[in-house]
């Protein structure tokens, strides 16, 4: 968290937009090796006491204290899972687009991780949003801080922006082909492909 605060303070990360793994990787300061069974960012409680940045952040693992620290500062934290193929695409997005491959669907977490990501107390991306808001209140009571009302916040839209469980990049859907040279986005027209890429995770929810 200390590192995150530092990155925010030195303008490495743009706080006016939602912060996800892509944003952290684009700073160039964070190294990730998916082939070594590394699945993303584990936000530690290192600088939790001095953290005071209002951000909408998406990490892969966060402890209770970390969640409390971010929510006390008025931000929103979500834990999300990215499978290794998606991680490779996120590591070097430009290179990925140059491959000429349409954006893949993000896979659901493996059996031993799906429980974590369906847990509202861990702010899992597969959890029920209503339960998540309940847990926010619970946590605020536990740690003894006033939970700021994000509904009144002018950045409410930005803070509550969340990705679809099958989405890898903000604003880009799976199945789309992005071409940086021509600056176009191509979308599939064939029925089967459209159906395949539009499949929701809802049916697989634990």
């Amino acid at each position: 968290m200390l590192y995150l605060q530092k990155m925010i303070d030195t303008n490495r990360i743009d706080v006016s937009k939602p912060v996800d793994l892509v944003a952290i990787l684009n700073t160039g300061l964070y190294k990730l090796a998916p082939d070594q069974q590394q699945f993303g960012v584990n936000l530690t409680d290192d600088g939790a006491d001095i953290f005071n940045a209002k951000i909408c952040i998406e990490v892969q693992w966060a402890s209770e204290l970390v969640i409390a620290a971010i929510e006390r500062a008025g931000g929103v934290i979500t834990t999300a899972y990215y499978d290794p193929h998606s991680l490779q695409a996120m590591l070097n997005t430009k290179k990925f687009f140059e491959r000429g491959v349409p954006i893949p669907r993000r896979m659901i977490p493996p059996p031993d991780a799906i429980e974590y990501y369906s847990d509202p107390s861990k702010r899992g991306y597969l959890a029920d949003p209503e339960k998540v808001s309940e847990e926010r209140l619970v946590l605020a009571q536990k740690y003894g801080y006033n939970l700021p009302k994000i509904e009144d916040d002018p950045d409410y839209e930005m803070l509550t922006e969340r990705k679809d469980p099958r989405q890898i990049f903000y604003g880009l859907n799976p199945g789309w082909l992005v071409n940086l040279r021509d600056k176009v986005i191509l979308k599939p027209q064939e029925e089967e492909l459209v159906k395949y890429y539009a499949q929701k995770v809802g049916s697989l929810r634990v």
């Binding site: 491959r99 000429g100 491959v101 349409p102 199945g175 040279r181 021509d182 492909l193």
Partner: protein
């Protein structure tokens, strides 16, 4: 500074010239059309000229593909190797160079129509696997039987080898006993005796086999006779018939024995013994007759 002023002068001249021209022509549509048509022709010529000049400009002596890469264009517009036709390469070309690569973007998505072939292949593979597994199951059922067969064969071989060995050893022992002292098996005399003994043994085995065969036949006939007896009414004719049948085969056995005895005697070449042979023959003939009678009586009795 000087340059800037110069440039300013140039720019200042141009617009005035332009304005003079427009003032003169006013709004002459026909003239405009003519001008535009002339301008087109001009462009084509200019284009060709430009192309020629471009070709001459390229003094790098680089390979065409390398030059294209340098200018961030598709390196191979015409494919030169099989690799340029692979889907991965074409997708990459589209990703890096966009539309100018001449690649149809639809190849970037997975092919949905090829699923039929994949399915067929999968089905065929499964079929093969299933057939093989069935075959294995069938063979497993016979496995125990084959195992037993193998063991039996092995045991038989072993036993045969053992028996042969034992027989040979016994023969050697016999010959040794015959000589009375330990003779070298490789000695000539030893070998001779060994051969003789082997022959005798063979003969004995043959006779034993023949006897066994004859006894089997006798048993069979007896059984037949019994069944016949149960069915038929006339006894005497049946008995005589059976007796004759019995008589033929055992006779051969007795004859063989006679022959063997005479041979033995002949080896020693003692005339008076021949008389003994005759006596023996008579005795045996009597014995044979008695035996046949016995068998007859037995048959009658049953």
């Amino acid at each position: 500074m000087i340059r800037r002023d110069f440039i300013k002068k140039l720019t200042s001249i141009h617009p005035s010239l332009v304005s003079i021209r427009t003032r003169k022509s006013q709004i002459d549509v026909e003239r405009l059309e003519q001008e535009s048509s002339t301008v087109e022709v001009f462009d084509e010529d200019a284009k060709l000229r430009e192309e020629e000049i471009d070709k001459k400009r390229n003094k790098s002596r680089l390979r065409l593909s390398d030059r294209n890469i340098l200018f961030e264009n598709t390196p191979y517009l015409t494919p030169t190797s099989w690799h340029h036709g692979t889907i991965k390469y074409l997708r990459k070309n589209y990703g890096r160079y966009g539309e100018s690569s001449g690649v149809n973007p639809s190849i970037c998505w997975p092919n949905t129509r090829n699923d039929c072939r994949c399915k067929e292949k999968r089905i065929q593979k499964e079929e093969r696997v299933r057939a093989r597994q069935e075959d294995i199951v069938k063979k497993m059922e016979k496995l125990e039987m084959w195992k037993q067969d193998l063991y039996n064969r092995m045991a038989k071989k072993e036993s045969e080898a053992k028996a042969a060995k034992e027989r040979k050893e016994r023969l050697i022992e016999e010959v040794r006993r015959h000589f009375g002292y330990t003779v070298d098996p490789r000695d000539e005399r030893f070998k001779e005796m060994l051969e003789k003994k082997e022959k005798e043994q063979k003969k004995a085995m043959k006779e034993a086999r023949r006897k066994a065969r004859d006894e089997k036949i006798v048993d069979r006939i007896l059984k037949k006779k019994e069944t016949k007896k149960n069915r038929s009414d006339t006894e005497c004719s049946g008995n005589m018939h059976v007796a004759f049948q019995i008589g033929v085969f055992p006779m051969s056995v007795y004859l063989v024995q006679l022959f063997d005895a005479s041979l033995k005697l002949a080896m020693f070449k003692e005339l008076h013994k021949e008389l003994e042979v005759m006596a023996i023959m008579l005795i045996w003939r009597k014995k044979f007759y008695e035996d046949s009678m016995k068998i007859q009586q037995q048959a009658v009795g049953k």
